[in-house]
């Protein structure tokens, strides 16, 4: 394998990390809640999508649309059931809730879809096995699709935040809850919208992950990497999430290709975390994050 090929794959994988990190960053920016359950939410949305599609009596696009609706409903439900009751509590409470949600959702998935060691096929678009050959370089179809979708979604996000009224409201909320409220931005509605958007993005990411490798109950672990990516990017920076995602993807693939053979494999799983630890030590607010001034 040549380095260019590895880098391209890294970019494609990294785009998915970036996409999940985007969901994570959106929630963090608007609500200041670090969503540890992000990985679990990706897993749940995609299992739900699988369940919806498996009903199988309607065309694929309807299935996807329905799953999107389910995902949005999930986001709204999380916000209403678990986040809303904690308004006014110290920040640690909702964050702890997301940590507990991580387990709860996993448990739920195991209960409903668990079959030990099993991996379900998931390929509603029929692209899992496909590959594009460009000269020497081989690009797998789901990965390529994921890359493109990610770029499109980031682009849409950028437009949404720049021009849409709700987008502007979200940015205002992200900056300062009090100011946003005093200017008439419906902060609680923004919270709900952000969760819905995050679960929707989770669904897209999960859909691509599923098309890559099928469904299995370890998918949630990608959330850990996404958190690392979000932190590297600076937690409150949307472009940071994308850049950090791509960067981590490439570095991880390179590490997998060139270091793993010497140490017996598995480095790819922790490499983003190691990068994160190093970066966070030297730049506590990530690569693109905003430093805050402390006052007494």
């Amino acid at each position: 394998m040549n380095t260019l090929q590895i880098c391209l794959w890294g970019l494609q994988i990294g785009a998915i990390y970036g996409l999940i990190a985007l969901a994570f960053v959106l929630v963090y920016k608007a609500t200041k809640v670090i969503n540890f359950a992000q990985g679990s939410i990706v897993m749940l949305t995609i299992y739900l999508c699988h369940a919806v599609i498996s009903l199988g009596t309607f065309p694929i696009w309807a299935g996807l649309l329905l799953s999107a609706g389910v995902a949005i409903g999930l986001g709204l439900a999380i916000n209403r059931l678990f986040m809303h009751p904690l308004v006014g509590q110290p920040l640690i409470a909702p964050v702890m809730v997301t940590i507990a949600l991580l387990g709860l959702i996993q448990g739920l998935c195991i209960m409903v879809w668990g079959d030990i060691g099993g991996c379900r096929n998931f390929d509603p678009l029929g692209i899992s096995a496909g590959a594009l050959h460009i000269g020497q370089i081989v690009l797998l179809k789901p990965h390529t699709l994921g890359f493109i979708v990610t770029l499109v979604l980031f682009g849409l996000c950028a437009l949404f935040f720049k021009y849409a009224k709700l987008g502007l409201g979200m940015r205002a909320t992200a900056e300062d809850h009090q100011v946003a409220k005093v200017l008439g931005v419906p902060v609680m509605f923004v919270f709900a919208a952000v969760w819905a958007l995050a679960t929707l993005i989770s669904l897209v990411a999960g859909f691509i992950l599923g098309s890559m490798n099928g469904l299995e109950l370890g998918i949630w672990q990608i959330g850990i990497k996404a958190i690392a990516v979000a932190i590297i990017g600076g937690l409150d920076s949307i472009p940071g999430a994308l850049i950090a995602g791509l960067m981590v993807g490439v570095l991880e693939q390179l590490a997998g290709a060139y270091i793993d053979p010497y140490i017996g494999g598995g480095l790819m799983d922790v490499f983003p975390l190691i990068i994160m630890c190093i970066i966070i030590y030297f730049r506590p607010y990530g690569l693109f994050g905003l430093e805050r001034i402390e006052r007494v």
Binding site: G88, K165, L168, G169, R171, A172, E175, D176, H177, Q178, V179, A180, K181, V182, L183, G184, V185, P186, V187, L290
Partner: protein
């Protein structure tokens, strides 16, 4: 237009901040609210705008009427829609948004032509037009103050609550901003409730003034009258005549011991 009737405000159900405050803001007038740190001026404004809830505060007694509607313990988002805009203390711009985006957020509740609304604000603050595309956080203090006032104006309020607009600004800038406030009051027919430490500046602008201390209104009157009132000086500088008040040095030790025994 605005009538506060004997309100009491508590934070977290225990800390009593306002103990029976009453004040009035008539249509199209400028009213100034003065007093020391911690006197309860900002809390009064928050009680009006409905921002108390974000700090676990609550109006527990009394009422706040705005154009005949009770608005105490209301939701800030709704209050804005009624036509009350609060400009918070400390030039709280949305730092990473541009000046124009800041203004657009200010007009969140207003439907209709945003362009025209923006132009109107730029009319009052020509300086903001020049920096419309720069990031708000990098603007100078004076521009930021203009920005937050302009942002409040975007909601097309009939009553603006201004919290210490002169804080930390150089005297010349204060004069400029107060000049603009005057023209807003006259041009847009907006009533202003102005919280200020800078008493003389505030009184030169306002028609009427209230002085607060320890969560109460202790003095009020027409601006002209207050300006010449010796008490104002005392509130701000403790320049009272000797012998009028007991010195803090003379408070005897037994004063507290007495309480201890009793």
């Amino acid at each position: 237009m605005l009538a506060i009737n004997n309100i009491e405000v508590k934070y977290s159900d225990i800390i009593l901040v306002l103990r029976g405050v009453s004040l009035e803001v008539p249509d199209e007038e400028i009213v100034s609210l003065m007093g020391n740190n911690g006197a309860g001026k900002t809390t009064t404004l928050k009680a009006i705008s409905g921002m108390l809830a974000t700090e676990l505060g609550k109006v527990t007694e009394g009422s706040i009427m705005f154009n005949g509607k009770r608005i105490e313990n209301g939701d800030a988002e709704v209050t804005v829609g009624l036509g009350i805009a609060q400009v918070m203390e400390g030039r709280r711009t949305l730092e990473h948004l541009t000046v124009e985006e800041n203004l657009r957020v200010g007009g969140y509740k207003v439907s209709g032509d945003a362009k025209k609304n923006l132009e109107r604000v730029y009319g009052y603050f020509p300086r903001l037009r020049d920096v419309r595309n720069s990031t708000a956080g990098y603007c100078s203090g004076g521009e930021q103050q203009m920005l937050v006032i302009g942002r409040g104006l975007m909601a097309r309020p009939t009553l603006m609550l201004l919290d210490e607009p002169s804080l930390g600004l150089a005297p010349l800038l204060v004069e400029e901003i107060f000049g603009i406030l005057k023209s807003i009051n006259q041009g847009a027919k907006t009533a202003l409730l102005l919280v200020e430490q800078n008493a003389l500046a505030a009184l030169s602008l306002a028609n009427y003034g209230y002085v607060m201390e320890n969560g109460r209104v202790v003095l009020d009157g027409a601006a002209e009258k207050l300006k010449n009132n010796e008490d104002i000086k005392e509130f701000y500088l403790g320049l009272n005549e000797v012998g009028k008040r007991k010195s803090y040095r003379e408070v005897k030790h037994y004063r507290r011991r007495k309480r201890w025994l009793g």
